[in-house]
Subunit: 310 residues, 2 copies
């Protein structure tokens, strides 16, 4: 049975984004990448492709842009490196793959997909994950590929203040943390994908919620697909993505209500800043955030398109 | 308000343990450590101590024993190293700390506790986690401390077959994977802790469910505290610990029913082998497993004690 609707939603991070701090050309540049990502995903779905492929391709486009804190645009760690995290999950069979603290890999989301497909594992980390990427012949990039002057300056400022910062905590706000996508395909299957460069100036091999199944990423055909962005530690402790699914499955909440409840209820009360995108098998889309902005877009079938920042 | 009951439950891993393959003295040795761990935890609780301290001390006793695959008794990775994972969670405030792929640290659970207490993060990994341990002056041990001839032989056999193995998949069954504890203190607070040496001959920086909040470890005063053991990939995909909590919170299941449903229902159907220990604020304890054995024990108040393997 084919469903009528197919849909995809994406995000490029949530945080403090004020309209006043954003020049017109910059806003246009961000929206352009969001539009391209959501369109490419949408075309895959329209042709009968898999939700899994749609979310992966959409995330790869954002990873390849230096505008977002993922892949190419990843922020600097305290050691001046780029340690990236990513996860992908298939709602049809609950298969999942993820990587944490991986360097050099051009598209961490592709690596997560390979972990799901070619390894017996779910989560690979650090050098081991890089070795797996090499065995799978994934494209690696030299340090210069990930270098960006504004990110570098951002890192220098963070080092000066000796603080670990969410990408979006920067007043200058050149770049922004985490990208993600969720999709429903014509066969009624859901998928979710998330990718990030983590926190600016991060130390100690810190890992946030993005690569953690049930925290930053989750997909289950019985309920919904979710990708989160924000202050990772809160999303980890509150198992946010899985909590949205549980609220739908066991508390009879709608996608909208479940997503709102956790982001603007539970998390907001606890001081956890961020947002999420979610989709269900009816093609409903929810995109709540408790920050001043979240780069986001969705496309339902090929008609209804929405792109926004604030 | 003080509750009447205080209780602690612990596990030392689940898997294929047949009575025939277990000599009498070996069984006695395992039970002896389980008894010591559950007793020490219980005395802390009896004196009005915190659930958090009880689970940590109980796990440390098992980490310090070479019988269990955690801390001192950790299995060998493909590189001949010992990479350990641990997590701890406080049900009172949902604070959590965890580490993955950490070497040299005598007690990974203590490191997880320090991550919760002294860092702004939840999850630290690899070399970064070790650096944090050093800054916190945690006790490190040389390679020899973790060396054990039977574990070494087990690794050689796994290498020969070029396979990644759950500790308990070995017919010889000298050692056994993962340890954990859950507790309820007199103030009605819950806590959970889990520690493991992971899979024998593991590669690629693989991380299982143990250090993942919501997968192998979870505690929430509103529902229950849970520590899991088994084939980590399944526990990750099914967000097992958080699922037990959700079933109680939103589907009105009892602790017993929720735990059984996931271990002997959902996971068993999916082919996910393992078990879990769980406790609620009434002092109910559940310890389901879908394998032939699980090293386990509990103590309710100072009277009711239970220690078993099969």
């Amino acid at each position: 049975m084919e469903v009528k609707n197919f849909a995809i939603a994406i995000h490029g991070g949530a945080g403090t984004v004020s309209k006043s701090s954003m020049s017109k050309w910059k806003e246009r540049a961000y929206k352009e990448v969001l539009r391209r990502a959501v369109t490419v995903g949408s075309i895959i779905l329209q042709k009968g492709g898999r939700a899994l492929d749609a979310v992966m391709e959409a995330v790869m486009i954002m990873e390849d842009s230096s505008l977002f804190n993922a892949g190419r645009g990843s922020v600097f760690t305290a050691d001046g490196k780029h340690e990236m995290d990513a996860a992908i999950m298939n709602g049809r069979n609950l298969k999942a793959g993820s990587v944490a603290g991986v360097t050099d890999v051009k598209n961490p989301i592709l690596l997560a997909r390979m972990v799901m497909k070619k390894s017996k594992h779910v989560l690979l980390t650090g050098e081991g994950a890089l070795n797996f990427a090499k065995e799978q012949d994934l494209e690696l990039k030299p340090k210069e590929y990930f270098f960006d002057q504004s990110r570098y300056n951002q890192w220098l400022r963070a080092k000066e203040k000796n603080k670990v910062a969410l990408d979006h905590d920067e007043a200058s706000n050149n770049k922004f943390g985490t990208v993600g996508a969720v999709a429903l395909d014509k066969k009624g299957n859901l998928a979710a994908a998330t990718s990030t460069g983590g926190m600016v100036n991060k130390k100690y091999g810190r890992v946030g919620d993005s690569p953690i199944i049930g925290a930053g990423t989750y997909a289950n055909n019985a309920t919904c697909a979710v990708s989160c962005t924000g202050h990772g530690e809160y999303f980890l402790r509150y198992c946010v993505a899985h909590e949205v699914s549980s609220l739908i499955k066991y508390a009879n909440k709608t996608l909208e209500d479940a997503s709102e409840l956790i982001i603007n209820g539970v998390l907001k009360s606890a001081g956890g800043r961020g947002g999420l995108i979610a989709i269900d098998t009816l093609g409903n889309v929810a995109m709540p955030f408790n920050t001043s902005g979240m780069y986001r877009a969705y496309k339902i079938s090929l008609e209804k398109e929405f792109i926004s920042i604030y």
